[in-house]
Amino acid sequence: MARGHLKKVLSLVGLIFLLAGCSQVKTGVLNPQGPVAQKQYDLIIWSVALMSIIFVAVVGIFVFVLVKYRERPDNLDYEPPEQEGSRWLEIIWTVIPVIIVIALAIPTTKTTFELERSPSPEQKPMKIEVTSVDWKWIFRYPEQGIETVNYIKIPANVPIDFELNAVGAMNSFWVPELGGQEYTMPGMTMHLWLEADKPGTYLGRSSNFSGKGFTHMTFRVISQEKEDFNKWISHVKKTAPEQTESDYLKLMKPGNVPEMTYSSYPAVFIKEYEKQQGGEKHHHHH
């Protein structure tokens, strides 16, 4: 009876994997749209391949012993031998995992270091300052002098150097199709390189829980051809409003906001805001 159940479960598991394999359009991590995401995707696929070896070996032995050595009406007088262990077997199942770990550790380390550098060093990178403020994303383009909220446009095939800061809680800046995430932390500036291969729109979001409005803390990343991007910049410069001091302070308050565009931003650095806030708190304590 148990055997029948086991088969049912196994075939169910298989079915789910199968469904997963041919499910809809690929999205997210499995749909890399830039060199950073591609590197991570390759590493993921390599690790899946390595892990499959272990999976198949263990499940194979598992099913074999269960079927072969189950208690049956005809083997009730079988008394199993007392085995202490086997040096050789122990060595085998220690050495093989060691080899697999090495096979994964080397590309892991290599990729870890690669991701610290620009994905396309021959290209001039563009800088975007990202600040998570409960519960919105503020993007400043220091080279262009504009600011957007909850969306960014970037030129395709240009490495983007994201400088990550936070006001309030920690969040995590994640655009799965372009690459893995990095935290935004108050009082500590972080860096993340991303690059898009071609024009397209990708969903980005905070993936680290930061309170009530966290769920809606998403943003769009719109990748464009360079000319289109430049056109957009000059369009913003001409048509979008300037950000006033009071606009800025309003943004610093907790809450979700729609997408916004500003042709300029006040001289005060967002990083400084946090410090001022800290200073005020001090004052408050004394």
Binding site: V9, R70, T108, T112, L115, Y183, M190, L203, S207, F209
Partner: protein
């Protein structure tokens, strides 16, 4: 800090939620019901004498298990509520705040107030019996451990009706969990509830360490101990080295919140990241505190139902030692994405991957214990066998997560959620079921019904896989953890629906299990022999349930699987010819309960920042300790004739049982 602050918080009783009102009514009704039953049947005295003041490890174990199952229910209800909210896109079943509170309490309860007491319950039941001891080293301290756990759990659990639940996640990351972003009693409940039960846990660690090192039956060398005892020993050492870190972390955040300190605040130059470090320096070993005993349980069950001694016994021990050592040097893998730099990330990637090697050794040793065995598919064995492929999936996804650059994509996503549920449910929860069913006859003298047990097993297992396999996929599709709803059109909906169905199936499986217990109380097969499974270790050599003194004569051990060896070599008779001696036992004491009540009062006071009440509670605790110091327990003796009577009764029942079966 104002000593005479008795300010009522904005909302003392939580209001405005129909579900909370329902819970209020249920709680009051349940309490009235309990009071009525106890009074009607005149059971108050019995409750105090037999349970509240007991220092018997077997009874303490049962109390741990009852609490753990209750907490499994509470944590499970939280899970089902979350899954209901996520079943379809844009549902409005729970709002963001309520959802945040529920995932926070779900995580905290399942780890701290479900898995831990479940494991401690089984340790209490089995370890002294496995090593041929009459109790633990410090029985009153053992009772205190339990009551402190109970006080902490109660404090944490009342938060949802009084004052509001914590809502910053079970990891309680700063600055989110600090006063600026999360004022009010909720987080204080988390900090103080965990603190109080954590002290109890630390004392249990010390207690079991000394018990196992010093109180083993003659002849039981370390390398002849049952594997569950080995896992308990190693776990105790991890507890002693890991829990003080939690104690400090909680205390520092409490100081931040209550007394204006600046450990984790941006203001005052504190470091929010310090919390993440301290939390996970405790938190990762904590994972192994709940998984190593599970490994021990699986080893016992596999060996028993394959009718073979454990394959590679010494490799099993060394691999546990290796895992416990590595568990202290991997904590950064919980925040690869916090910018520790490529060197640190690479280093911690590799240490994390290394854990898979001793774990793999264990898996293969279990497989080769089964090899050439004669495998009986009893319910405890089914849970154990299900563990192997389940934990394998959890383990290999763990290795995938260990690769830092890949983790940038998995981190905070449902991929991670699925990974740790595969390890914690597939490891710890399966072991809790396996262990509970396996040792159930030893606790209560009857077996749980196998047919109902198997139904609950299969429904739970199918539900579990339906619930968690899709999570790997939607994690890769970019769904992050802890969002309370999601828009349609991202391709997440169908998978979420399947997950919810799975969660409900798990709930049904649990319900059947509870029914199985109720059914078996009346109809379960009575265990008259003390050895219902044809066991191998010493706990099966005494009656079921074991007498107060465990063993009339302390057994002599010659081999691994001492009882199996004895059954094969007919050594039983020789032992029984040894003369009986009076047995020295500890007295029961009400002090642990009273001390824990003071601790609860202290915790409750500090939660609301009513410092005077907090201090009164602490003074009460000190008073109890001083009282204990001045009243040394000399214990008492069970006379030989009482032991003879008890043993004769068992022999008679056992003989009758044998004649019926043969």
């Amino acid at each position: 800090m104002d000593l005479f602050n008795f300010k009522k918080p904005e909302h003392f009783f939580v209001t405005g939620e129909p579900m909370i009102y329902m819970a209020d009514v249920l709680i009051v009704l349940t309490m009235l019901g309990i009071v009525f039953v106890l009074t009607y049947y005149k059971k108050w005295r019995w409750l105090w004498d037999e349970w509240l003041t007991t220092v018997d490890h077997k009874k303490i174990g049962i109390m741990y298990l009852i609490s753990a199952v209750l907490m499994l229910f509470r944590g499970g209800v939280d899970a089902v509520l979350m899954r209901t909210q996520l079943a379809l896109p844009n549902l409005k079943f729970l709002n963001a705040q309520h959802y945040n509170e529920i995932f926070t309490t779900h995580g905290t309860i399942m780890i701290i107030f479900m898995a831990m007491p479940f494991i401690f319950g089984l340790m209490n039941i089995a370890v002294p019996l496995q090593i041929g001891a009459r109790d633990v080293a410090f029985p009153a301290l053992n009772a205190l451990s339990f009551w402190l756990f109970a006080a902490g759990a109660l404090l944490f659990n009342i938060s949802f009706v009084i004052g509001g639940s914590p809502d910053a996640g079970w990891t309680s990351y700063t600055p989110l969990a600090g006063n600026e972003l999360d004022p009010g009693p909720g987080e204080n409940y988390y900090l103080l509830g965990l603190q109080i039960s954590g002290i109890g846990t630390l004392m249990s660690g010390i207690n079991f360490l000394v018990t196992i090192l010093k109180m083993r039956a003659p002849g039981m060398k370390l390398m002849k101990m049952p594997m569950f005892t080995w896992s308990t020993l190693i776990t105790s050492i991890i507890i002693i080295f890991a829990f003080p870190v939690l104690t400090v972390a909680l205390a520092l955040l409490t100081m931040d919140r209550l007394f204006g300190a600046h450990f984790f605040t941006i203001a005052g130059d504190g470091m929010p990241m310090l919390w993440a470090n301290l939390f996970w320096i405790w938190g990762h070993p904590e994972v192994y505190i709940v998984i190593l005993p599970a490994f021990g349980i699986f080893s016992e069950v596999i060996s028993t139902f394959a009718r073979k001694r454990l394959f590679g016994y010494s490799a099993m021990v060394y691999s546990m030692v290796a895992i416990s050592a590595l568990s202290f040097v991997v904590w950064v893998h919980h925040f690869f994405t916090m910018g520790s730099g490529p060197w640190i990330n690479s280093l911690f990637s590799i240490t994390t991957m290394l854990i898979s090697i001793p774990t793999g050794v264990k898996i293969f040793n279990w497989l080769f214990t089964l090899y050439k065995g004669r495998i009986r598919f009893t319910t405890p064995m089914l849970w154990t066998l299900a563990f192997i492929p389940t934990f394998l999936v959890g383990g290999i996804t763990g290795v995938m997560l260990a690769s830092a650059p890949a983790d940038y994509q998995y981190h905070n996503s449902y991929f991670l959620i699925s990974h740790f549920h595969y390890t914690l449910i597939g490891g710890t929860v399966f072991a809790c079921f396996a262990g509970l069913i396996y040792w159930w006859p030893k606790m209560f003298g009857f077996k749980l019904n196998e047919r109902l047990g198997k139904w609950s097993f299969w429904i739970f297992i199918i539900g579990f896989n339906l619930c968690f396999i899709p999570m790997y996929l939607i994690g890769l599709k970019g769904m992050p953890r802890r969002i309370y709803t999601y828009p349609a059109g991202l391709g997440w909906g169908t998978w979420n629906m399947i997950e919810t169905i799975g969660a409900y199936l798990m709930g049904i499986g649990f319900a059947i299990f509870v029914y199985c217990i109720i059914y078996s109380i009346r109809h379960g097969e009575r265990d008259t022999t003390g050895d219902p499974w044809d066991g191998r270790t010493l706990e099966w050599s005494t009656s079921s349930p074991a007498p107060e003194y465990n063993f009339a004569r302390i057994p002599q051990v010659n081999e691994i699987d001492a009882f199996w060896y004895r059954k094969r070599n007919k050594a039983m008779k020789v032992e029984e010819s040894k003369p009986l001696k009076p047995i020295h036992m500890p007295n029961k004491t009400g002090l642990p309960v009273i001390l824990s009540i003071f601790m609860f009062i202290a915790g409750f006071g500090f939660v609301f920042e009513w410092h005077l009440i907090g201090i009164i509670g602490l003074l009460g605790v000190l008073g109890c300790l001083a009282w204990r110091s001045l009243h040394e327990d000399k214990g008492f003796y069970i006379p030989v004739d009482i032991i003879q009577q008890t043993e004769a009764k068992w022999k008679k029942v056992s003989a009758r049982g044998k004649s019926i079966t043969s």
